[in-house]
Amino acid sequence: MIFLPLLLAAGAPAAEKAPGPVSASDAAAVMAPLKAWFAGIDATDAGAIRNQIRIDGGGGATVAVNRPDGTKLVRHISWEDYLAKIKPGEHRYHEQFTGNPLIRIDGDIAMVWGDFTLSVDGKVATCGVDHFDLVRENGAWKVQNVTWSQRTAGCPAQ
């Protein structure tokens, strides 16, 4: 993509460099904030989740809900609105990836795409795909955006 002020600052291109596969250690570094995020959901700890987000980065959360009756809904919310809904209550939540998420990294950008289930009080309530957009700044990976699909039909039992 192009952003003109950066374009003007750029120099001459050189020889080709093909992107390599994601190493286990690089994958672990990208997954670390997501593991901490899921732990924050389990603990209903908004502060733990906040630490994984580029909170001033202007991103947010987008959900595409598919209801059993076939109706659909897309909502985009700010991080602050998202975090405000994470608070201790009467239910226990648990989110996890099912299977191995797809991870891609190039320099300081990364993405994770993976099937998830969200359980409430030990039972799977919703499932879908989590799509995380991550950026590395000052050596730390953080979440710029998250988008997920959400359905209640056809979810795995566990």
Partner: protein
């Protein structure tokens, strides 16, 4: 992910869920699902080539954002974030010919969300200027895919010549 009010919407009453069979002879889609996901991306590139910000804006959701992680030849790095409107506004008429090319994009789709991750090269007047990876976050609403966010890496070293 979790967004509690939406979770509550999915009540037990909803879960009688339709196990309806699909129509016996559904019409084939005019374009593959991947092609539909790529449509707004191709439109953005068309808008870049035409240097027409309106085409770019039309391919993005109103709340879309654009993030660029740039590496300069001296090794310094920066991350910048723009609104979709700011991003589009940066594309103005001018004499240079812009062209963005993707190579071997990976496309993933689940219901109404999709992602495209692809190496790209950006050419000015036919010459490679910079390169990196484009990461598109797409959402389908009212049957139409649009870009919710694009994040890209940008470097001027190590780019393919063409």
């Amino acid at each position: 992910m979790i967004l509690l009010p939406l979770l509550l919407l999915a009540s037990a009453a909803d879960q009688k869920a339709s196990d309806k069979l699909p129509p016996a002879n559904p019409l084939p889609p005019p374009v593959s699902e991947e092609g539909q996901v790529m449509a707004p991306i191709n439109a953005m590139f068309d808008g870049l080539a035409r240097r027409d910000s309106a085409i770019i804006l039309a391919a993005m959701r109103p709340d879309a954002t654009a993030i660029v992680a740039a590496e300069k030849p001296d090794g310094t790095r920066s991350v910048r974030r723009l609104t979709g409107a700011e991003f589009a506004a940066g594309v103005k008429p001018g004499p240079e010919r812009f062209e963005e090319r993707l190579s071997d994009p990976a496309i993933e789709i689940d219901g109404d969300i999709a992602m495209v991750w692809s190496p790209y090269t950006f050419l000015i007047d036919g010459k490679v200027h910079h390169c990196g990876v484009d990461h598109f976050d797409l959402v389908r609403e009212s049957g139409s895919w649009k870009v919710a966010n694009v994040t890209w890496s940008s470097r001027t070293t190590g780019c393919a010549a063409q």
